[in-house]
Symmetry: D2
Subunit: 340 residues, 4 copies
């Protein structure tokens, strides 16, 4: 069976998946791309060549020959697309965050429960060789009990305006650091119980004037269910490049993955020793994105267990909401409170 995959969202993340499908993912077929923006859709079609296009995402997910949907549209549209896809029996790979609000997220959970299909979260770090090796070493007991997970997520890009509007996305914490919140949960094996966030519109105070609550620098401390601690820091835009790193301190050692530098060529001259920075998540996680699509194919075919599920999306979003509330209040916020 060749899995027909439709892409919803012809933006940056969507096109990564589209290009991978076009270049070839064993067992998968690019069944189409959907975007309500005529301009984005035309650009995608021009680049991808012969591809079925949809201007209506909800039509796309229900089209014939579609087995799976990759949701890479703006955050505030995730829930509607995912619910429609699941209702049509399509498997879903949903980019982070799962939804813009917890109510939306709960709608997706309900839709998944009512469907035979499964939703996977696009936490691509879980498919990256470095992060996977850390997880593997923790599972092997190489550092004893994990006690502290430090996760950094910074990106250079100027996200689209909606991503800065905390009423339509979860802001920096959601758009960038969802990955770090997932990393903390994944590598600690524990759930956040209470979070404290500090942040500031350090580089773009102008955006904060338009969008109250906007920050471009944030730190989040997470007290975890098993007594561990998570320490997340995020920034966007970060001038120097894309930076995804993790450090896990355990009772018998410490693990690191990620580097702000590319491991390509080193140049040494009298003015210094120089390597290239990692410029984009597209480069850093190129292999991971391919592996993620292969995993989607496997799950659709019933080969192997999903590595992430809708609850991973819900838990990360709850932490986002708690962190944003902590930013607003200046005090720690218990995860118990976020649904009140």
């Amino acid at each position: 069976m060749t899995v027909g995959v439709v892409l919803v969202g012809a933006g940056r993340a969507g096109m990564v998946h589209a290009r991978n499908l076009r270049a070839g993912v064993a067992g998968a077929r690019l069944a189409g791309i959907a975007d309500p923006s005529p301009r984005a859709l035309a650009a995608a079609a021009a680049e991808l060549g012969d591809v079925h296009t949809f201007d209506d995402p909800l039509a796309a997910v229900a089209a014939d020959g579609v087995d799976a949907v990759v949701v890479a549209s703006p955050t505030f549209t995730h829930a509607d697309v995912a619910v429609a896809a699941l209702a049509a029996g399509r498997f879903v790979l949903c980019e982070k965050p799962l939804a813009a609000t917890l109510d939306d997220a709960d709608r997706v959970v309900a839709a998944e429960r009512a469907s035979d299909a499964t939703l996977l979260m696009g936490f691509m770090r879980r498919f990256d060789a470095g992060f996977l090796r850390v997880a593997e070493r923790i599972a092997a007991g190489d550092i004893g009990e994990p006690l502290l997970v430090k996760s950094t997520g910074r990106g250079p890009g100027m996200p689209p305006e909606w991503a800065w509007d905390t009423t339509r996305s979860g802001g920096l914490v959601a758009e960038v650091n969802s990955h770090d919140l997932d990393t903390v949960r994944w590598l600690s094996g524990q759930e956040p119980r209470r979070v404290f966030a500090a942040g500031r519109a350090a580089k773009r105070p102008d955006v904060a004037e338009r969008h109250p609550g906007f920050v471009d620098l944030v730190t989040v401390t997470l007290e975890l269910s098993g007594g561990g601690i998570g320490l997340v820091d995020g920034a966007c835009p970060a001038d120097y490049g894309y930076d995804a790193r993790v450090e896990v301190y355990g009772s018998e050692g410490v693990l690191f993955a990620g580097d702000a530098r590319q491991a390509t060529a080193l140049l040494v001259r009298s003015d210094g020793a120089h390597t290239d920075p990692v410029r984009s998540w597209r480069d850093l996680f190129a292999d991971a994105y391919r592996a993620e699509l292969r995993h989607l194919v496997d799950v659709v075919r019933g080969d192997g267990q999903p590595r992430t599920d809708v609850l991973d999306g819900v838990r990360a979003l709850e932490a986002v909401v708690a962190a944003n509330r902590s930013l607003e209040r200046g005090t720690p916020v218990a995860l118990d409170e976020v649904r009140r």
Copy 2:
């Protein structure tokens, strides 16, 4: 003029300075070593060879031929020794923290104001090539405005029992992370305004039973006067070695110093690629400790300005007190409150 230096405290830190003086610091002379413990004193004398010994620190600081005093005795004795030394007109190099309590610290400040001599804080990172290069690059504008300072301090050793008793020391935050709190202040050029700490007796719950408030893992978030953020994490005992690292994220780039690995030999075999961990602050900061003593000599001789002063000690201690109070309460603590 050859500066006569007396060491107070024949413990681990004291012996580092004593050995350096014995090996030779230009312009300095080991004028003696003081420790009320006959056993420690005898061991020090045996190792150092022909050295003047004092069983009474307060007598030592006032002895003839003493120009400067290195205070490396237990934390709760720092203030008495420093006050006596300053009263006798001796210059002081005081190991961290400045004192066990803010009242003690204030006594030292008063003594220094009344003295012609100067007190330097033993923040040896300020003499380390890597940390200095970070400071130099920040001053040169290489990363624009520093926005976030992340500082890690972990150590393998089992400190003496008094260091775990938060009534006689400031616990982990004071004994280990004073260096990180100073690093945040130094490299950001800003003062802490509010701190939030999380921590746990993760590895030694048994010690927490004896000493309420004991933690062996801690994180401290610092909101800084200029809008920057500090993020400190500390652990002791850390099985794998001694780990002092800093990362400074700025508006135009990021800086790193420190590594848990020694930069000596790399061995690659089929079972892995192996280097040595940094085992001790004695190795990592060997050059820094020598430079610190040379700086002391310069200051005593009137050559050059002090790089640290008693207020650096006070400010770091205030942050320690605030962090410990935050640990106790579970909420952020303003620096304004610590003297109330």
Copy 3:
């Protein structure tokens, strides 16, 4: 146009290409796999699934629907397969070395000249991000004039017996260090004029008894046409893993690519700081092998110039022959002599 690619040789290198084609290379189609060994062919078919198999390589290259041939059979068969493929008008991607003898190589050159198709050499380092970045920086003048190219090639595997028989392959220099000889030519932009080789059966003296001239450790010094120097070292089997590194010293700086370590996770414990070694060329050059096949597709379609050609294969082989002759004689050998 979808390019039909037939694989000749179901050994280790052949299967790398076969798996890549199976996983999906945009514009390419796995048209079949050929191997005279029934056992190898059956294993390949079992792994690859629905694939056309050929027990006769010469039949395979002429089969319908075949546009390009990847030659990954034993060295001593390269020439016959390549000549047949070119005669049938197929494009060829030939694994190194081009042939077992210069006479064979010359037959391939003649066949290519008589054909409309093109032969590319499988020097996959030319498609690796690190090696490419070195080439790019040299071209940009970052190190001034390249003066010395040092290239290391070591591999863990026990090659098949024929690869150790210098009458059927060119031994270590051909089977492993062809890549390094090409690297020296490529990055210096110069041709070898004279070579001196030293070598020894250091780990497998038993093999040297069966195969005179066998070495498992070799160094080759190359005096280059523009006054530069090449310094190659090779070893196989190398217990610790696969190691492909280059260093280019130039008049204004130095460049490095390659590392015996994988850039995945770092583990630090009291017993050391550990990363994983690179275990195989399959891992190290996974991206490069995919890029190489995409390049083959482009060349077949007439999109873009070939990055390597049959003369790159001839020049590398001439250096192999000279190095082996130098090993035999113990003196330098001029490239001019190798055809005498």
Copy 4:
């Protein structure tokens, strides 16, 4: 007993030792500095402060209160100074190379045999933490049998004119790569039997016109007594800094020490990731030079065995002579021949 050390040679290497002695080496005393150049001597005295100066090196080595002599004068003067010092019963630490000619070297050997004192060679890599760790790991069997030792020595400085005159020094191979030749012998535990060198005046053809035989780039292949291979490369001037690295490939693994980069601060910006190059042997081997002087003190006092001796100097010089002869002839040269 405090060892009185006189420095012969107020040039760059001499002043490194002089400054170390002035800064303090336990058990040692700077007994004076000798240089026939009034200008160099005056500059040294001005920097070192109160120091005994000698314009006649031969008088200096025989002066009262002198126990040991550091020979850091131009190469062609080494033998006369060393012979005089040994004749006067002084211990000698001789910078490389031991002498300008083998005849001179033999005179030193004879003088040492006739003396109660000992000559140490200034091969400071043997006191460097990284190189020592490699030696230690080899001795521990971590890589099995060492089979190939690759050693790189490059330096930025423009040496004084005499160092380029191969009649007064041994040129690049002697002045820079003596260290590498010693490294090969030390880490392999084997002696060179035959060498092949390639070289060129790549950057300074103008100097080659004045000094026939001058090269600023060289490679030396050494066939070793136990079947191992040495591979040395050298360059001076190297624009980018000082670069001393070693790689030892063994039957079960590989070892590396040295790096062209300083392990201080890493700066990452959008224009690249930057560290500082190692600018000078003075920085790189600062600790090693101090350790070397402490070792001299120990040897003078009879505490511990010498780590190097006059024969290490002779063997390295024989390899220098063989390499230079190979450069001249273009063919390999047996070590047996160098005294013919």
